[in-house]
């Protein structure tokens, strides 16, 4: 199953709704291109909704880290929303759960940018 990202704006925050698998190849590239396009348009407050992402491999984890550091380096912020248990567990064992700001409710995620 391929990866799909769609974006929407809520109170100045860009919410990226992702679905599918973030894995080496197409999935990672889709996420990378989406974040790059948003930054190019000056949209630097990004809330990545991973509710429908049921699988991430190490390349996908690397892509999340890359997106996070790229956005931060451009003066923005990237937060994660609605992790599935599998993704949550992966971020726990890789110690990245404390690196990312993770929210489980969209309104709280949007407010966290202000």
């Amino acid at each position: 199953m391929s990866m799909k990202c769609s974006t929407r704006q809520v109170d100045g925050v860009t919410i990226v709704d992702c679905s599918g698998r973030i894995t080496l190849g197409e999935g990672s590239i889709t996420l990378r291109d989406t974040v790059r396009d948003l930054l190019a348009k000056g949209q630097k407050k990004i809330l990545l909704n991973l509710a429908d992402v049921n699988y991430i491999d190490s390349s996908g984890i690397g892509e999340l880290v890359s997106a996070f550091t790229t956005v931060r380096n451009q003066g923005g912020d990237l937060k994660l929303l609605n992790l599935t248990k599998k993704v949550h567990d992966l971020l726990q064992i890789t110690k990245l759960y404390t690196v990312f700001d993770v929210k489980d409710e969209e309104a709280a995620g949007v407010r966290a940018f202000s």
């Binding site: 080496l24 996070f68 890789t94």
Partner: protein, 148 residues
């Protein structure tokens, strides 16, 4: 319990990675592992296949990846072999070290070790072999013969 062994010789492509993962998932399910274990085994195989295709064979069309699945009744043993220059284990970073947390790569072997009961990595100048073992707990069913 029916013991079984099946081998695949695959091209150095991303399709190989997906095929190895899907085959691992099917064989692990047939061996009677629960859903979480099936996911862990499939992910470990995927990561090992990624290493073989990318870092070992470097997508070289002249080099193959060999994947063996063996259900011994006690264990599911998966061996993945590439034809690259051999992984340098001394150069593997600790992905949990503070200075490496924000690195974008280097977590594959760590995830494999996290998900499998035993992992043996045997690098040589003619390639790297990685052996993954998951113990079959409880009542496991011998699966059907795999084919491709």
């Amino acid at each position: 319990m029916t013991e079984q062994r099946v081998s695949y010789t695959l091209d150095s492509t991303l399709e190989t990675v997906d095929n190895a993962e899907q085959t691992a998932s099917r064989i692990a399910a047939e061996a009677g592992f629960d859903e979480d274990s099936v996911m862990q085994i499939a992910m470990a195989v995927r990561e090992a296949a990624v290493n073989a295709v990318l870092h070992g064979n470097a997508y070289d069309p002249g080099k193959k990846v060999k994947v063996d699945f063996e259900n011994t009744g006690r264990d599911l043993v998966i061996t993945i072999r590439d034809q690259g220059k051999g992984l340098d284990l001394a150069k593997l970073p600790d992905p949990l070290a503070a200075e490496n947390l924000l690195k974008t790569s280097g977590r594959g072997i760590f995830l494999i070790r996290s998900f499998m009961d035993e992992v043996e990595i045997s690098p040589s100048q003619t390639g790297t072999e990685i052996k993954l073992v998951k113990h079959v707990h409880g009542e496991a069913a011998g699966g059907k013969e795999a084919s491709q």
